[in-house]
């Protein structure tokens, strides 16, 4: 599903954010990306959803070569992904259901299917009762669940979560993490960047640790060599 081959990323100011990163993520995997701030987690995330392009090397995500994506292809890739951020990125002037529906409206989904799909994902994240609530009326954990519902509503192949629990208290963190595990259990690949080692220890998932732009540790480095990349 995901393959990084000798990826380098430098910024115009000369800073080298990633150095020779190579890894593969296969179908159904749950992968943690860990490391201190500035280690390169966010850069990898941005490469995954084609917000940035590698300076050299190849990034393949769900069959797309990010290095060669044209402007018109980026939306196609993103429709195969669900992206979740630390700050939720919900629209304050829309209800929970409208925020989720927004993701369908802007890709031109058929109107008559939208309501049913929104209800389905709100149920999946455990918040069908909050459909009409505005973000300010929801707790942090609930807002993140709505954001995850929005990421899920297009049936993505991969969920990319950048510090999804960074703004949450312990209880909400557990809830959101469990939700991501449930999503993964249904077959969706989850790539989660986090520096919360408690979470990482809780689950027996593969962990890729970054330091100064390089991979210093990958719990599944041997298996990934054999994993078929699609």
């Amino acid at each position: 599903m995901i393959r990084f081959s000798h990826v380098y990323k430098s910024y115009p100011n000369g800073a080298l954010a990633l150095k020779d990163i190579s890894f593969k993520v296969g179908k159904g995997e749950f992968v943690f990306l860990t490391g201190h701030s500035g280690a390169g987690k966010s850069t990898i995330m941005k490469l995954l959803f084609a917000e940035q392009q590698p300076t050299s090397g190849e990034v393949r995500v769900s069959g797309h070569n990010v290095s060669e994506l044209g402007k018109d292809d980026v939306p196609k890739l993103r429709r195969r992904l669900g992206i979740v951020f630390q700050d939720f990125r919900l629209l304050e002037d829309r209800t929970a259901a409208e925020n989720v529906a927004f993701a369908l409206e802007v890709i031109g989904a058929r109107r008559d299917t939208i309501a049913a799909r929104v209800t389905r994902v709100l149920t999946q994240v455990g918040l069908p009762a909050k459909a009409r609530a505005y973000p300010r009326e929801l707790s942090g954990g609930e807002q993140q669940r709505i954001a995850i519902a929005r990421a899920l509503v297009n049936d993505p192949a991969i969920i990319i979560a950048d510090e999804p629990t960074g703004n949450l208290d312990e209880r909400a963190t557990r809830g959101v993490f469990q939700l991501l595990r449930d999503i993964n259990a249904m077959g969706t690949v989850v790539v989660m960047a986090t520096h919360d080692l408690d979470i990482v220890r809780q689950a027996p998932y593969r962990t890729i640790e970054l330091r100064d732009g390089s991979v210093v540790y990958d719990t599944a480095v041997d298996e990934t060599e054999e994993t078929e990349v699609s």
């Binding site: 959803f49 402007k71 018109d72 980026v74 939306p75 196609k76 890739l77 993103r78 429709r79 992904l81 992206i83 990125r89 629209l91 927004f102 993701a103 409206e105 802007v106 890709i107 031109g108 929005r150 297009n154």
Partner: protein
């Protein structure tokens, strides 16, 4: 489509003052173009009336035999450019002068000898009335031996032509200047809308909205502003036209207003202005959000 229209209309509600400003600027830019356009089309209309009366007058030397003149008249009538030819005798010229030049009626009554020469008057067919052809035909007529002098209103036709061109040009230049201002102002208002909605746009991009989908509402917003500005400019033009025509009257009572196709053109131009303004702004700022 519904989403597109809703988003575009929302921006008018979010920033009514700025929207009004954009519309007014477009309206004034087109109003300026329109006013000069009105002057130009009325000048053209006036010129067309004058051109119909374009005549070449060949004054005949005294004592030319009538037969020569008759033959020449037939020759001239056979020119492909010529519509009709008439011969005015000395007496007819005097009679006409007496009736047409009322101010000099007394002077003409008292004179003993007729000072007016006989003349051949030639009217040209439509399509042969521009100055080059007129000159050509005039030269051919001049070559008849008995022709003393040939006159035609070349100079002032050219001058009117120039006036019309200058009017059109001045209108175009001022209008273009206004149009640039309109594009800038629309660009600024659209940019403000984009900044206001930066968060929404970034989410649209994350969930896979295409660039054209994101641009759509902004372009529609610009086009709508252009449309309204175009309408407003026509209203202003019509008000100005009526005011001028009704207060001056006299020779200006017959002034004409734009034909429907002109009006459509002005409105289309307004829409294009609006689109240009939003395209510039969207192109420059959407990359950064």
């Amino acid at each position: 489509m519904r989403l597109l229209t809703r988003e575009a209309l929302l921006s008018f509600r979010r920033a009514p003052l700025l929207s009004a400003l954009s519309i007014t600027t477009i309206a004034f830019s087109l109003f300026t173009v329109g006013l000069f356009g009105l002057v130009a089309i009325n000048l053209r209309e006036a010129l067309r009336g004058i051109e119909e009366r374009v005549e070449i007058v060949a004054f005949v030397l005294r004592g030319t035999p009538a037969e020569s003149i008759t033959l020449a008249t037939q020759d001239i009538a056979a020119f492909p450019e010529v519509q009709d030819v008439s011969f005015i005798t000395e007496e007819q010229a005097l009679a006409r002068a007496r009736t047409e030049l009322v101010e000099f009626r007394d002077a003409y009554r008292d004179i003993k000898a007729n000072p007016l020469p006989a003349s051949i008057e030639v009217r040209l067919k439509e399509g042969f009335r521009e100055s080059a052809t007129v000159e050509l035909v005039a030269e051919r007529i001049r070559s008849f031996g008995f022709v003393d002098d040939v006159r035609y209103g070349r100079d002032w036709i050219q001058r009117l032509d120039q006036l019309r061109n200058v009017t059109g040009l001045v209108g175009l230049v001022i209008g273009l200047a206004f149009a640039c201002v309109a594009i800038v102002i629309i660009g600024v208002t659209i940019r403000l809308t984009i900044l206001q909605r930066a968060r929404e746009i970034s989410i649209m991009r994350l969930v896979g909205a295409t660039n054209w989908f994101i641009r759509g509402p902004f372009l529609l917003e610009g086009a709508l502003k252009g449309l309204l500005g175009g309408f407003l400019s026509l209203v202003l033009c019509y008000a100005g036209y009526r005011l001028f025509r009704d207060t001056t009257g006299g020779p200006f009572a017959g002034l004409i207003f734009f034909r429907p196709e002109h009006m459509v053109l002005i409105i289309v131009f307004g829409v294009l202005l609006g689109l240009a303004g939003s395209l510039v702004s969207v192109g420059r700022h959407l990359r950064n959000v």
